[in-house]
């Protein structure tokens, strides 16, 4: 790989990381908000996986610390239940505060997306 390409690659990765910082927590809240039942880490990761590309397709190990983080912030609630597949699983469910945060953040995301799209219009491709 040429040094220039390598640098581009690194910059793209940095950009994706910055993008994912806030969006991943929004996506996790959305997944749990849409599901009626509590879900465990693996299930959540697999659900997100179905929605394809972009920053959400990053390594799924990155989701667990974010889940724990959202729980610490009171947006999620969790309980441990035994499973026959192996170790006991931690099930997450969204709290009332989480639903409020989801609504507010979704609105903020849509506004951001629309304005970024508007600015981007006609620039690329």
């Amino acid at each position: 790989m040429a040094p220039g390409e390598e640098q581009d690659e690194a910059q793209l990765r940095k950009f994706q990381k910055e993008l994912s910082a806030g969006t991943v927590s929004l996506a996790l809240l959305a997944v749990l908000g849409a599901s009626g039942d509590p879900m465990y880490g693996y299930q959540i990761a697999k659900t997100l996986e179905r929605f394809g590309d972009g920053v959400l397709s990053g390594k799924q190990s990155a989701l667990y610390p974010v889940l724990r983080n959202l729980e610490a912030a009171g947006l999620l609630d969790s309980s441990v239940e035994p499973s026959d597949a192996g170790p006991p699983r931690r099930y997450y469910r969204i709290t009332a505060a989480g639903r409020v945060a989801l609504r507010v953040r979704a609105a903020a995301w849509r506004a951001t997306r629309d304005s970024v799209d508007a600015v981007l219009e006609g620039t690329c491709e």
Binding site: K59, Q60, S61, A62, Y64, P65, R68, A85, P87
Partner: protein, 302 residues
């Protein structure tokens, strides 16, 4: 990225992850291993037709290879720590600034509160361990004591996790947020045996027993210093009419005979208060390390 071949079994994967995280905070290592094991076991259960090696090969691109996972955890830990904690007070340049800066450090107040709390928790832990251990050991002559002993050891593990949370919140020392898994594929009897041979269980018992004397010392030091500081600071109130307060110093009734000494006493009281906060912060830091050494499994990060 190293060109090592991928691990073929789950214990091997976890071992590789543990090695990649060498030198990281042991509590972080424990969390990372917990999460990885949950994911791998679930993936294996979802795909009954595939072998462990195939599942791990598939997981390497979705969940991440051990060294990638290690990087992610190291990375997010830094972000989470800076986002969740109270901002550390700006380091002050001058020696005087550093000395009085302790007033603005939330960690010092939290440690002081922890010192007061340890009397209560120390008594509880000590009683639990001494009563539980002697009752169940004594009854072990009959058959009743054996299940009691096993239950008691289980309860000690839960208490250890609880104490870990208290220590992390108040003293700022990172402690595990998840219970430890025992090795997979062992029968319940082997696991019970593990509980007794695990040095961590015994060091946890030692910690709980030591919490009583430590709690008494911490509590006395905190109460003693606080009451000296506060009574010195409040001594000028003796001058107010209608307040019945005596300030005696070396046989001298200070407000009546030498009221000019009162500002000096207030200054000394303030000084004692600052020193108290320094002591609290120092003890908090030491106790955090002590708790970590006795409560967190060293084998996790060795």
């Amino acid at each position: 990225m190293n060109s090592e071949r991928l691990p073929t079994t789950i214990p091997e994967y976890l071992e590789r992850l543990r090695r990649s995280l060498a030198g990281a905070d042991p509590a972080l290592v424990q969390d990372a291993l917990y999460d990885a094991e949950e994911y791998l076991r679930s993936e294996l259960a979802e795909n009954p037709g595939r072998t462990e090696a195939e599942v791990i090969a598939a997981v390497a691109s979705s969940y991440g290879a051990p060294d990638e996972v290690a990087d992610i955890y190291r990375d997010t830990e830094v972000t989470v720590q800076t986002a969740l904690r109270a901002p550390p007070p700006r380091p002050r340049g001058s020696a005087l600034g550093r000395f009085f800066g302790v007033f603005a450090d939330p960690r010092a107040y939290a440690s002081l509160f922890y010192m007061l709390l340890t009397l209560a928790t120390g008594i509880f832990y000590f009683t639990w361990v001494v009563a539980g251990f002697s009752t169940s050991l004594g009854l072990s002559i009959t058959i009743v004591g054996i299940p009691l002993l096993i239950l008691f050891f289980g309860s000690v593990r839960v208490l250890s996790l609880v104490e870990g949370r208290i220590v992390e919140v108040m003293l700022g020392e990172r402690m595990p947020r998840r219970p430890l898994y025992t090795a997979r594929g062992r029968s319940i009897w082997q696991r019970i045996g593990d509980m007794f041979t695990d040095p961590r269980t015994w060091s946890t018992l030692l910690y709980f027993v030591l919490m009583l004397p430590l709690g008494v010392v911490y509590f006395s030091v905190a109460i003693g210093l606080l009451s000296i500081a506060l009574s010195l600071i409040l001594s000028p109130f003796a001058l107010l009419p209608g307040v019945h307060m005596n300030v005696w110093l070396f046989g001298l009734d200070v407000p009546a005979e030498a009221p000019w000494l009162l500002p000096l006493l207030v200054a000394i009281g303030g000084l004692v208060l600052v020193v108290t906060l320094h002591i609290a912060r120092g003890i908090g830091r030491m106790h955090g390390l002590f708790a970590k050494h006795l409560l967190v499994k060293t084998a996790q990060y060795a």
